[in-house]
């Protein structure tokens, strides 16, 4: 007996692509509005499952701030089947959306504290949502430091926004590249080299770290040297969520389901978990 199921957990909401921006050779930024006009209502650090029927579904961090309510943005690096199919879409095309899912950055707990944001490579994508949110609610937070690192200046995502952050008086921004080119005038070296120079009050600081797995260990070491408490170091972990509902098992990190318990964890939660990073 086949019947329509009203309360299915897998129901897709239709979304329309408003704008597409080529960020680098491999990454595109998609601005998407839900077709019924409702807001996605996410928190910085949460993710959505984007679907193209016939190809499949995959998780993406929302990289726009919830303060922007009419549409949301995702950044997609072309690496697999679904991301390649997404790269072929044009403004006006539709995608299916489930979510938002997971636990984002604890923006309410972070109020009144200094914020240190450390992003490596694609890690800037989920952090961008947080950065925009903090800038839009700037008065609620103390000193804000943003540190970004990437392989080469060509890999730098959101270059125009980065320039904007550099100019702002209310955030301290620095970035570094592993390999420079002749036009590069900024720092060269690992992102860890930027941390010792930061002046902060550890007990009043929340540090958020997102980047490739290899980066976490070294950045967290530096942050602990600065005596930031483990529960105030936040990381966002990448896993292949298939259901987003804490069931399918693909995103499981020992007893934690990254899609529901994360993707943002405190370092305290994961420091004894071998599989985490």
């Amino acid at each position: 007996m086949k019947t329509i199921l009203k309360d299915s957990l897998y129901t897709q909401v239709r979304g329309k692509i408003l704008r597409i921006r080529q960020l680098t050779e491999l990454e595109k930024l998609f601005e998407i509005a839900l077709l019924e006009g409702q807001s996605l209502d996410h928190e910085p650090g949460q993710f959505v499952l984007i679907s193209i029927f016939g190809v499949g579904e995959a998780p993406f961090s929302v990289c726009s701030s919830p303060t922007k309510r009419d549409s949301f943005e995702i950044t997609v690096r072309k690496v697999g089947r679904l991301t390649s199919a997404l790269h072929l879409l044009e403004p006006g095309d539709e995608v299916g959306i489930r979510g938002p899912y997971g636990r984002g950055f604890p923006i309410t707990l972070m109020v009144g504290n200094d914020i240190l944001i450390v992003g490596g490579g694609l890690g800037i994508v989920p952090l961008r949502s947080l950065i925009h949110y903090i800038i839009d609610n700037r008065r609620n937070y103390g000193k804000v430091d943003i540190l970004l690192g990437c392989r080469t200046p060509q890999n730098m995502l959101f270059g125009d926004e980065v320039e904007h952050w550099e100019e702002r008086v209310d955030v301290d921004f620095s970035c570094t590249v592993d390999q420079a080119d002749p036009e590069w005038t900024g720092n060269i070296g690992r992102i860890t080299s930027l941390i010792p120079g930061i002046n902060l009050d550890p007990h009043r600081t929340f540090a958020t770290v997102v980047g490739p797995p290899v980066m976490y260990k070294f950045v967290i070491q530096e942050l602990r040297k600065k005596q930031i408490p483990d529960r105030q170091i936040l990381v966002s972990l990448e896993r292949r969520m298939k259901c987003g509902l804490g069931r399918c098992g693909h995103c499981q990190i020992e007893h934690l389901y990254c899609c529901q318990d994360g993707p943002v964890f405190t370092y305290e939660q994961i420091k004894d978990i071998k599989e985490a990073i």
Partner: protein, 345 residues
């Protein structure tokens, strides 16, 4: 509470009567000591003595392939969420598999509730069947406290030699049997005979591993870095048989099936296995459980530790299917024994 008896010579008649109103799924012999749950219409087809079926009756609650959505892309990303299910009577479910069904039940009834599962479950009537002795040497149902019935069924049958003793556990179960003219009410004598049978069973069924199950989570925690896992990793073929036959494994994948018109199709939920190499792999190529030893350890922890923390229940029923099916002869009982020995040394 209601207790009935059914004379053995009326069993075929009983199945025939139920089959008039319900689809019956029951264990059937396939030769070479292999059994499967499948559709039956007469009592002759049913294997009343059987070792755990190749695939557990989980397949009726969480089918290997299940359509979640049907889509039509002609005018945008349109879809209908659907559930495809049929009502049935599941006859002859052993206590280990009843426990397995309850585990799956907890996972999919937990919030957010899975309505595909709940719709399907509501149409399945479970008739249990007691094991009077061990099925074979792979079982560890005594260690897992599952060799005696403990709820989870609508009716429960115990083979008493020339008759069945039947426990009517639910109203739903009563509705199936009350109109059928084949039963007699159980007498005090029947009840005493059942007591004797259970007492005999307590003599036969002994803890198969020598570990109290409440101590297994701690045992695993202490042996997380044990060479036993490396040994399993060397032997494991990563075929995924152990998880496919497990009555409590519930991990899945979601894939799309496209029709020939390239516009319509369906989204399907299908069984997946944490033993597959790509299970925990992410887009950039990073694999968080690359080693087979890590994946085998994950399986054991998921049966005896993570699920205990999350659902306050062991996700091993002691049915022995994983050990019975393993081509590399990885044996759950042996592995637990080895881990235990390691903590003694």
């Amino acid at each position: 509470m209601k207790y009935l008896t059914l004379k053995k010579d009326r069993f075929n008649h009983f199945i025939g009567l139920v089959a008039k109103r319900h689809i019956i799924m029951a264990p059937v012999s396939k030769g070479y000591n292999n059994y499967v749950f499948q559709h039956v219409t007469s009592g002759d087809e049913i294997a009343l003595k059987y070792i755990p079926t190749i695939i557990p009756p989980k397949k009726y609650f969480m089918p290997q392939f299940e359509t979640l959505l049907e889509y039509d892309k002609t005018w945008g990303e349109n879809m209908n969420a659907i559930v495809d299910y049929e009502g049935m009577v599941l006859f002859g479910v052993h206590t280990c598999d009843i426990e397995g069904i309850q585990e799956i039940n907890i996972v999919f009834s937990d919030r957010p509730k899975d309505f595909n599962y709940l719709a399907r479950r509501s149409k399945i009537i479970i008739m249990g069947l007691e094991c009077n002795e061990y099925c074979d040497e792979f079982a560890s149902c005594c260690m897992m406290h599952n060799y005696l019935p403990d709820g989870g069924y609508d009716l429960f049958f115990t083979d008493m030699g020339d008759y069945f003793y039947i426990h009517v556990n639910t109203q739903l179960g009563d509705e199936v049997v009350e109109s059928l003219p084949v039963f007699e009410d159980a007498t005090g004598k029947n009840y005493i005979e059942l007591g004797n049978l259970r007492a005999r069973k307590r003599e036969i069924f002994k803890n198969e591993v020598g570990i109290e199950y409440q101590n297994i989570p701690e045992l695993l925690e202490r042996t997380k870095n044990s060479p036993v896992w490396e040994d399993l990793g060397r032997r494991c073929l990563a075929c995924g048989n152990c998880t496919n036959v497990c009555p409590t494994c519930f991990c899945f994948n979601i894939l799309d099936d496209v029709n020939l018109d390239l516009k319509t199709g369906k989204r399907t939920r299908m069984w997946d296995s944490c033993q597959n190499e790509a299970f925990a792999k992410v887009a950039g190529g990073e694999n968080f459980r690359k080693e087979r030893s890590a994946r085998q350890r994950h399986r054991f922890f998921k049966k005896f530790k993570y699920t205990v923390d999350r659902f306050a229940r062991f996700f091993c029923t002691g049915c022995g299917r994983c050990s019975r099916t393993c081509m590399a002869k990885i044996n759950l009982k042996e592995t637990l024994k080895q881990l235990k020995e390691e903590t003694i040394q």
